[in-house]
């Protein structure tokens, strides 16, 4: 093994600076967060006055009602945003894969939500949704379709779906771009051969195009899922996790626990749990990429 390392010493030397930086900015914070998760950090004391409490923070989290509520919200947020963004993005990619007049303009327009800053988008949507004088409410009342503006983000039952819509609006272009790139790699001769063999449009899609996109689909879904699990800006700016914690997802809850309430220990324990989940997703992401590489090598 040492001989192998020596043989590849130049390669190791090239990656060494990157590894050193990662150790400082990634490995140490991870270690510190794990360490902190075993301590009680009362809000009235400095962090250095923390006391060791073992797994207490983890049991506190797992037995609290808020944890299950926030976890449920996170699941709805992540699954809802990921699945719908992917389906819409895929559909848009298929539509834009055909050649038609204005395709370039339409593609540029559809990418706009993705390039707009998430902060700006959050404020814009906050005003669109505004429960008293939002644009949607004004249009609905103006058309006589509602007596008063609908309550989008000030109601515990509608706030999360409303935020998911914003998130989908912002990230479906990403799925669209990924799938459009994938569609470019589907061999044209296979599609033509299938057509010659009498396959209709749906059969060509299902038996030729879709299987060919399985890897890029997996990667896209995993990237969306990780991004959504970590998504902070939209829920924090639009509602701050409210009303009544109805739109708190893990990441906003962790932020509030740490920076708003200074429960660094509990927030760290939450972060460790989140880290484990994300690492699991990351594992599948890497596996999907490795699968791609192996297939490419096989070809």
């Amino acid at each position: 093994m040492l001989r192998k390392i020596w043989e590849h010493r130049a390669d190791y030397a090239y990656v060494l600076p990157a590894i050193a930086v990662m150790l400082v900015v990634i490995a140490y914070p991870i270690y510190y967060t794990i360490d902190l998760s075993f301590f009680n950090t009362p809000p009235g004391l400095q962090l250095r006055d923390k006391t060791f409490v073992g797994f207490n923070n983890y049991t506190t989290i797992l037995t609290s009602a808020v944890f299950w509520k926030v976890t449920w919200n996170t699941l709805i947020w992540t699954v809802g945003s990921t699945v719908i963004s992917f389906v819409l993005g895929f559909a848009a990619a298929l539509a834009l894969h055909r050649d038609f007049f204005g395709r370039g303009v339409l593609r540029a327009i559809l990418i706009i939500p993705w390039v707009i800053s998430a902060v700006a988008a959050s404020y814009i949507w906050k005003w669109i949704y505004h429960s008293d004088f939002g644009i949607i409410g004004a249009v609905l009342v103006g058309l006589g379709l509602a007596d008063r503006p609908p309550n989008f983000i000030d109601s515990v039952s509608t706030v999360l779906p409303s935020l998911i819509v914003v998130n989908i609006w912002r990230e479906f272009p990403f799925a669209m771009i990924m799938m459009m790139a994938g569609l470019q790699t589907v061999p044209d001769q296979l599609l033509r051969a299938a057509k010659v063999d009498g396959a209709n449009a749906w059969q060509r899609f299902w038996h030729v195009t879709f299987p060919h996109l399985s890897n890029v689909s997996t990667v896209t879904i995993l990237l969306l899922a990780v991004a959504n699990f970590n998504s902070f800006i939209i829920p924090w700016i639009m509602t701050g996790g409210g009303p009544s914690n109805a739109s708190h997802i893990w990441i906003t809850h962790i932020y509030e626990l740490a920076f708003g309430r200074q429960r660094w220990g509990v927030a760290s324990a939450y972060s460790v749990l989140l880290f484990i989940i994300l690492m699991t997703l990351g594992y599948f992401y890497v596996r999907a990429l490795s699968g791609n590489d192996r297939r490419d090598e096989g070809a």
Binding site: G44, D132, F133, I153, D154, G240, G242, G260
Partner: protein, 492 residues
């Protein structure tokens, strides 16, 4: 009600508060520059413009004007809800400071009310705090109790404790030690649109006398005109929420603890008392039962109520005297017929005392800001330039600048500010200033406890949101909030 045993820290805080209070009234100390027992709009007018102050000369005694140094400074600055007038005064202050102390390299950073605490706490964890900081009145005790701040009393920057409001001095005192200087202190007032009142069949020149009246008026305005009656604010992590709900809570006889009494001990949690629940019920009645307040109250702050008010879509709200100037600024930006509509609202803008509770109790938050110096070990670079820090503190808390920096929205922290010529000018130019200065004697400071920011910024808004969204009943929401305060005080 919930009883609990507080730790030694709180006990020390109480003892220190009592000690300071007694010292404030001790005849051995010099007399205060103004007679607070005579406080009234007439008295304020009588003292305005009676004394001249030379700020540069006064501050030169603290830090020589040719002093060479470097200062990092964060402060709670102007935000979207402030008038342009205030922006100009902030600009003027820093220009004047640089001219007065040309050899002090000042690196200042403005942060909004809602962002400052989070950023400051984070910087402290990384020992990357500024040398001096101006915090909201709510924040000082938290950082003093944790040992981040240096002892700093008015005498250190050329003033006396008597030069400041006793309530403001309580907010900068922890464990018997003073850790900061008040820069400005204020109480808000009740604002209404006389035209809306008239059209809703209410007396246009009379503010609602009680909070029960506010509920009734709000419903009447909504039912008759189809617009929001009262500008309720229940957003989380926004200073606007406690500033508007606490006066209501105290007026009904409730409180978080006994902070509304003359000598608070903070030993008994009152959030689940029948009086506190009655105050919460009033908000519930307006939001849920009558639907007479903005639906967006849960995500809004006062800056969102201002355009609603100017558009004639809101009948009543609680705010600073500066809201009149804000309306003028907003009106200037309006176009076409909106400009005329806005002018009609401004012409019909009225200010009055904040309503009382059922027993005639009137209360308002005694707000403001304080300025502090950090200990070197928490500061970026590990050094604090004390003379430079004291120079800016002396200047900001001087009679001149503590008035100018609070020109439209607040009042000078330094009581001598009321004697300056700028106060006289302000009384003539800032409409309704009399009303807000009249509210000062009713001012109640937030509990001088390190836990106050979490109570006011998170627990109280959570209680409101839990009740108003129907996630909990009024009783459950109040009980839940009381339990959270109890846990918090117990160190959980």
């Amino acid at each position: 009600m919930t009883r609990f045993t507080l730790g030694g820290a709180v006990l020390r805080g109480t003892v220190s508060t009592a000690l300071i209070a007694s010292l404030m009234s001790a005849p051995a100390l010099a007399a205060p520059p103004v007679d607070l027992s005579k406080w009234s709009p007439e008295y304020v007018r009588s003292i305005a413009g009676t004394q001249d102050f030379d700020t540069a000369a006064d501050c030169a005694k603290v830090t020589p004007l040719d002093y060479k140094g470097r200062l990092t400074f964060w402060y709670q600055g102007v935000f979207e809800g402030d008038p342009d007038l205030l922006r100009q005064y902030y600009k003027d202050f820093f220009e004047t400071f640089r001219k007065t102390y040309p050899n002090i390299q000042l690196e200042e950073q403005a942060l909004t009310y809602n962002d400052l605490l989070d950023k400051f706490r984070t910087a402290l964890l990384g020992n990357a705090a500024p040398m001096a900081v101006r915090l909201q009145i709510l924040g000082g005790t938290e950082f003093a109790s944790k040992g981040y701040l240096q002892p700093l009393k008015p005498e250190d920057v050329g003033y006396s404790a008597d030069d400041f409001w006793p309530g403001a001095m309580k907010a900068v005192t922890w464990d018997g030690v003073t850790y900061g200087i008040p820069t400005n202190n204020e109480t808000m007032a009740f604002i209404w649109n006389a035209d809306i009142f008239k059209r809703a069949g209410l007396d246009p020149d009379k503010a609602p006398a009680t909070w029960d009246d506010v509920v009734k008026y709000s419903k009447q305005i909504h039912d008759k005109l189809g617009i929001a009656g009262y500008g309720l604010v229940a957003r989380k992590n926004a200073g606007n929420t406690p500033y508007r709900f606490m006066p209501q809570l105290w007026a009904y006889g409730g409180g978080v603890f006994d902070e509304a009494t003359a000598n608070p001990t903070y030993q008994q949690i009152e959030l689940d008392s029948p009086q506190s629940k009655a105050a919460l019920q009033a908000s519930y009645d307006m939001y849920v039962r009558d639907k007479s307040v903005p639906v967006s109250a849960l995500t809004n702050q006062q800056a969102d109520n201002q355009p609603l008010f100017l558009a004639g879509q809101l009948g009543m709200m609680i705010s600073h005297p500066s809201d009149y100037n804000v309306m003028l600024d907003l009106q200037k930006k309006a176009t076409g017929t909106d400009k005329d509509k806005a002018q009609t609202v401004i012409d019909n803008m009225r200010y009055g005392l904040i309503p009382t509770g059922p027993d005639g109790k009137r209360a308002v938050v005694f707000g403001g800001s304080n300025i502090h110096i950090l200990k070197p070990e928490y500061v970026e670079g590990g050094k604090v330039d004390e003379p430079a820090a004291k120079a800016i503190i002396c200047m900001w808390s001087s009679p001149e600048w503590s008035l100018k920096m609070a020109y439209a929205g607040s009042n000078p922290g330094n009581l001598n500010g009321f004697k300056t010529k700028w106060m006289k000018e302000r009384l003539d130019s800032i409409k309704f200033l009399d009303v807000t200065t009249s509210m000062l004697p009713y001012g109640i400071p937030f509990p001088a406890l390190p836990q106050s920011p979490e109570i006011m910024n998170i627990i109280i808004p959570d209680m409101l949101q839990n009740a108003l969204t129907g996630a909990m009943t009024v009783d459950q929401a109040a009980d839940d909030a009381a339990k959270k305060v109890k846990d918090l005080m117990g160190g959980l």
